[in-house]
Amino acid sequence: MNALSSANMPSKPGSAPKVQAPPAVRLVGIEKWYGAFQALKSVDLTVHSGERIVICGPSGSGKSTLIRCINQLESIESGTIEVNGTKLSSSPARVRENRREIGMVFQQFNLFPHMTILQNCVLGPIKVRGLDRTEAEKIARHYLDRVRIPEQADKYPAQLSGGQQQRVAIARALCLQPQIMLFDEPTSALDPEMVSEVLDTMIDLASDGMTMICVTHEMGFARKVADRVIFMDHGEIIEENDPVGFFDAPRHARTQSFLGQIA
C-alpha cells in the first residue's frame, strides 16, 4: 500500500546515506509577505524521502506558513520549491498534481460535517484518483482500520470526539496515498487525554517510512520520532539539529528560552 519509492531511511540523519532519488521537498530562499509583514525570510530546507521533520517555534514564527507553502495553500513571493524533484508551478492542473502527492492534517481537523466518516474518506479516491465506489470504500476502510476507528464509519464528525476526528482526518489524507504528510499542529486543539491517541497514530505512520513534516509542540513526540528538529522564529530557521542535540544542547539563546518556556 505504501507508495514510497526509496527504502526506509535510518532514523538518524547523521548516518543517512546519500540517496539517488531527489529530495522529497527542497525549499530554496523562500520569501513570503503578508502586506508589509514578512512571514518567511529566505528559508532553505531540504527534506529527504522517508525523513521525519518536526518544526517548532513561538506562535507567529512562520512554521505553519512554511508547510502551507509546500502544498500551495500559500503563495510565495520569491524562492523555489521542489517536491520529488519537480519545481512547483502555479497552473491549476499542476497545483492539483502536487497536492495529490501531499496529505495534510489541520489543527481544526476540517472534516466535512455534512458527510459521514466513510463519505469523508471516499470522496478523494473517487474524485481525485478516479476509483469506483467499491474500490474507494475498500481503501477508506483499510485506513480507518489503521487509525483504529473502523466502527465509526457511518457516523457524522460531530458524533466523534476530537481525537477520533483528528484520526479520521489522518485517514482521509492517507486515502489519497500521498508520499508526503504535513501536520499543522495536529494536537493543539485536543483535550489533553486525546493527544496521545493522535500521536500514537502518527508514530505508527512514521514507523512505516512515511515522509513527515510536523509542526508541533509535542516535544516527547519530537524526541521519539523526529530525524531532525527545526526551530523557527520571526520567519527564519534559527536552529536545526537531531533531537538529542536539539533538546539537550540547544545552541541559540532564542532556542534555549523557547525550550525553557514550554518545558
Binding site: F112, L123, K127
Partner: protein, 185 residues
C-alpha cells in the same frame, strides 16, 4: 354603469392567483439559476467575473423593479422580440431575483468556515467537487432562511407586473372593480 360584485368576480380574482404563482415560480427558477451564477462569479478568483457580478448586482439592486419591468417590456421590441407582458415580466423578475439571490448566496458561501475550502484544496479536489460536494451543501443550510424571506418578497413583487398589462392577482382585482370603459385599465 356599475357592475355588481358577485360570485363570478370572486372566482375570476381567485383564479388569477394561479398567474401570480406561475410568475413567481418562473421568476424564482430563473433567479435561482442566475443567482447561483452571480454568487459563484462574485467569489471567483477571476477578476473579470467578480467585476461583472458586482456590476450586475449594482444595476439590479440599485434601480426600482418597476423601471426594470418597463425597460425589459419596451426593450423587447428594440432587440426584435414581440412586446409580450409574460416574457417581459418573467425576464425582469428573474434578473431582479438573480441580483438579490446572488448576494444572499455569496454571503452564505463565505460564511462556510475557510478551513473547509482549505481541506478540499489540500485533498486536491477540483473546483466542481470543492463547490458541489463541500462548500455549497454547507452554504445551502445557511442560505435557507434568508432565501425564504426573499421568496416572500418576490411573490409580492409580482403585483408590479400588472402595470405592464400582465393579468395576475392585482390586475384581476382592479379590472373587476373598474368598468371596462376606463382607458387606463
Amino acid at each position: 354603469m356599475i357592475r355588481e360584485f358577485g360570485t363570478n368576480e370572486v372566482i375570476y380574482i381567485v383564479l388569477a392567483l394561479r398567474w401570480t404563482i406561475a410568475l413567481s415560480l418562473i421568476a424564482f427558477a430563473g433567479g435561482a439559476v442566475g443567482g447561483l451564477a452571480i454568487a459563484l462569479m462574485r467569489v471567483s478568483r477571476l477578476g473579470v467575473a467578480r467585476l461583472f457580478a458586482v456590476g450586475f448586482i449594482r444595476v439590479f439592486q440599485g434601480t426600482p423593479l418597476l423601471m426594470q419591468l418597463f425597460i425589459v417590456y419596451f426593450g423587447l421590441n428594440i432587440i426584435g422580440l414581440p412586446t409580450n407582458a409574460w416574457l417581459a415580466a418573467a425576464v425582469a423578475l428573474a434578473l431582479h431575483a438573480a441580483a438579490f439571490l446572488g448576494e444572499i448566496w455569496r454571503g452564505s458561501i463565505q460564511a462556510v468556515p475557510s478551513g473547509q475550502g482549505e481541506a478540499a484544496d489540500a485533498l486536491a479536489y477540483g473546483y466542481v467537487t470543492r463547490m458541489k460536494d463541500v462548500i455549497l451543501p454547507q452554504a445551502a443550510r445557511i442560505a435557507a432562511a434568508p432565501t425564504t424571506g426573499f421568496l416572500v418578497q418576490l411573490i409580492k413583487s409580482t403585483s408590479l407586473a400588472s402595470i405592464i398589462g400582465f393579468t395576475e392577482l392585482t390586475r384581476a382585482a382592479r379590472s373587476s372593480a373598474t368598468p371596462p370603459s376606463n382607458p387606463f385599465w
